[in-house]
């Protein structure tokens, strides 16, 4: 926006100064015509006036064209190489769309590197061509965006100057290294750059990738948060198979984090009153339960359910804050899964009961013991059952199934027969703050439950998944690892306690020990 304003101001200045020049010129013409040649004064005015307008029009057109030409050329060049934009090349890209903008920058870099490689292979003698190419590469290198170039062995072969400054790395520690060795990147999900690169080399010829909220840990341990945009081009003659551009968004994300921290702090204060509330309800139930009328007993259950929901809400927010601060840690202990699951479902039963839902259980008998952090897994179950209740629609049934899956892990699913969702929605479901836009206004929630579920389960070494069909319901599943398998892994790795880290985070719950 700024640039175009400046451009416009510049053009206006040019034209205004041109007009002044032309007016001076036309006054001279008028004077000459009138004074020396003796033409009628009225005619002289008209001639000079017409001349003035014509001249200024031609002049402004020329100036505008000269100023805008390089920009147009750039847009044409970028559109020419941008994959997936071929069909829309008649209209310029919408730079408001952040992804497109970031992709385009990547493409430009790619284009320059490609040109450079053609240059070196074909026209080494053409010195002016070489010079232009060197200039082009220089421009890319001087862009204020850290940019890394990797070859087909995924080794860094080039880095823009700003990348070297940004990553505060010595060139020797950057060039010739793999990306993992050179920079510590922490991705918010399993979709990591390394995995994407592997995938690309297996299945793709050319493609682009985009990541948000990637943590970059610099050598001095400071942390930045970036968006990444990457472009892959198989066997690029320039050797630039991967071009990765980093967009520093630390400030932007910091703001989000600060808000979350504030909420977490406030919510922290809610824990005690909520727990006391639950405590007093427990006392009521224990000591009065049998003497109350059916209606009052029902009210008491409802109180218990409401307090339980509040607890989940509070814990969700606190746990997300812990994940963000790399402080959530699991302590996995051996547990009889059938027993554990049944006792958790017993707790959930109050919730399903007051909503008139039948909670069916199909739990296999021969499930081996598993390694779980009970507090965290309880949150997973509570979140999944809560979701099933929220999105039940008009149905009256939830089915929980658990058995050993084909991969040897213990699979557990929670199935509802409610509103369901289209496949376009399911892909983003496990992301933070994600809420389905169709139901956002009808069903309350924070968009944190499934994000947490995924974080907790992957910390357990398991996986989460979802199958859903609009109008027919959803099945959410997760897997946990048999204890024997964990134990074996443990002995091999030589750790004393079963502590598994995911996304590089470390613990809090371990204080709750025996």
């Amino acid at each position: 926006m700024d640039h175009s304003k400046r451009l416009r101001a510049q053009v206006y200045t040019y034209i205004a100064s041109a007009l002044i020049l032309v007016s001076v010129f036309s006054i001279i013409v008028w004077y000459v015509l009138f004074e020396f040649i003796g033409v009628d004064s009225f005619l002289a005015i008209i001639v000079s006036f017409v001349g003035l307008i014509g001249f200024s029009l031609i002049l402004s057109e020329l100036v505008l064209k000269a100023v805008l030409e390089p920009l147009n050329a750039l847009v044409r060049a970028i559109m020419h190489v941008a994959p997936g934009h071929e069909n829309s090349s008649s209209s310029p890209p919408n730079l408001e769309n952040v992804h497109t903008g970031k992709e385009l920058i990547n493409n430009m870099a790619l284009q320059v590197y490609q040109l450079a490689s053609y240059g070196s292979s074909q026209s080494t003698n053409d010195s002016s061509h070489r010079k232009e190419l060197i200039q082009a590469i220089n421009i890319v290198n001087h862009l204020p965006l850290p940019m890394l170039v990797l070859n087909n062995e995924r080794i860094i072969t080039n880095a823009s100057e700003s990348a070297i400054t940004y990553l505060a790395a010595e060139t020797s520690k950057l060039f010739g290294q793999t990306l993992e060795d050179a920079v510590r990147l922490t991705f918010p999900s399993d979709h990591t750059l390394s995995r994407w690169m592997e995938e690309c080399q297996k299945n793709k010829v050319t493609t682009t990738g985009f990541w948000e909220r990637v943590r970059v840990t610099l050598p001095d341990q400071t942390e930045k948060q970036c968006d990444l945009s990457a472009h892959y081009n198989r066997d690029n003659p320039s050797g630039a198979d991967f071009i990765i551009t980093m967009f520093d968004r630390t400030e932007h994300y910091q703001h989000d984090d600060d808000s979350l921290n504030f909420v977490a702090m406030a919510v922290h204060e809610l824990r005690t009153p909520v727990t006391m509330l639950r405590g007093y309800i427990e006392v009521f139930e224990d000591e009065l339960g049998d003497t109350l009328s059916e209606e009052l007993q029902d009210f008491m259950h409802k109180m218990e359910v409401a307090a339980g929901q509040l607890t989940i809400f509070v814990n969700n927010i606190l746990n997300v804050a812990r994940i963000e601060q790399n402080q959530l840690m699991m302590q996995l202990q051996e547990a009889d899964w059938g027993k554990a699951l049944n006792s958790m479902l017993d707790d959930m039963q109050i919730r399903t009961n007051i909503n008139d839902i039948v909670l069916e259980r199909h739990i296999d008998e021969n499930i081996p013991t598993v390694g779980i952090d009970r507090v965290s897994i309880y949150e997973v179950i509570a979140n999944l059952i809560d979701n099933a209740i929220k999105y039940r629609g008009k149905s009256k049934k939830i089915i929980v199934t658990s058995k050993v899956g084909g991969n040897g892990l213990v699979h557990t699913t929670v199935q509802d027969f409610g509103v369901g969702m289209p496949s376009s929605v399911t892909t983003n479901l496990f992301e933070k703050f994600y809420r389905n836009h169709r139901t956002r206004n009808k069903v309350s929630g924070t968009g944190l439950g499934l994000y947490l579920t995924k974080a907790i389960i992957s910390a357990h070494g398991g996986q989460v998944w979802v199958n859903s069909k609009e109008g027919e319901g959803s099945t959410f599943g997760f897997s946990v690892v048999p204890y024997a398998q964990l134990d074996k892994e443990l002995r091999e790795s030589g750790d004393k306690e079963i502590i598994r880290q995911s996304h590089g985070w470390v613990k809090n719950h371990s204080m709750y020990r025996r």
């Binding site: 727990t275 006391m276 006392v283 204080m511």
Partner: protein, 132 residues
């Protein structure tokens, strides 16, 4: 059924609660008594320490933030700097995040640690039942 079993199993183990938050102590006392424990409560750190030193208890629930003497000092006097060791299991209770220094001290000297805000009376009883 389970509860009755727990009650008989506990056979009147003695618990000392050093806790100045009224709601919390009220709930704990009630729940523990119901589960068959003998419960003694004090809201004052110095008195708590005296009582603890009589070595008359099986379990001590020690809040880190109590008046007159802090929980950390009491813990130290009962463990690291104890004139005579006591047999009671010491369970530290708190709501606040502890400094690294405190955490290390608690981990070294206490037998267990619970976060009050995360544990309901029923869970506390289960927890104490499991503490040998």
């Amino acid at each position: 059924m389970d509860q009755e079993q727990a009650t008989t199993e506990q056979g009147g183990r003695k618990v000392l609660i050093i806790e100045d938050e009224y709601f919390i102590s009220e709930l704990y006392v009630r729940a523990l008594k119901r589960a068959g424990y003998q419960v003694d409560l004090t809201i004052d750190g110095a008195i708590g320490l005296q009582k603890a030193q009589t070595d008359d208890y099986d379990i001590i629930l020690l809040d880190i933030m109590v008046p007159t003497i802090t929980g950390t000092e009491i813990l130290e006097k009962l463990r690291d700097k104890a004139e005579e060791p006591i047999r009671a299991k010491i369970i530290v209770t708190t709501n606040l995040e502890q400094s690294e220094e405190n955490k290390a001290a608690i981990e070294r000297q206490a037998d267990a640690y619970i976060i009050k805000a995360e544990i309901t009376p029923k869970q506390l009883v289960e927890f104490l039942n499991s503490v040998g």
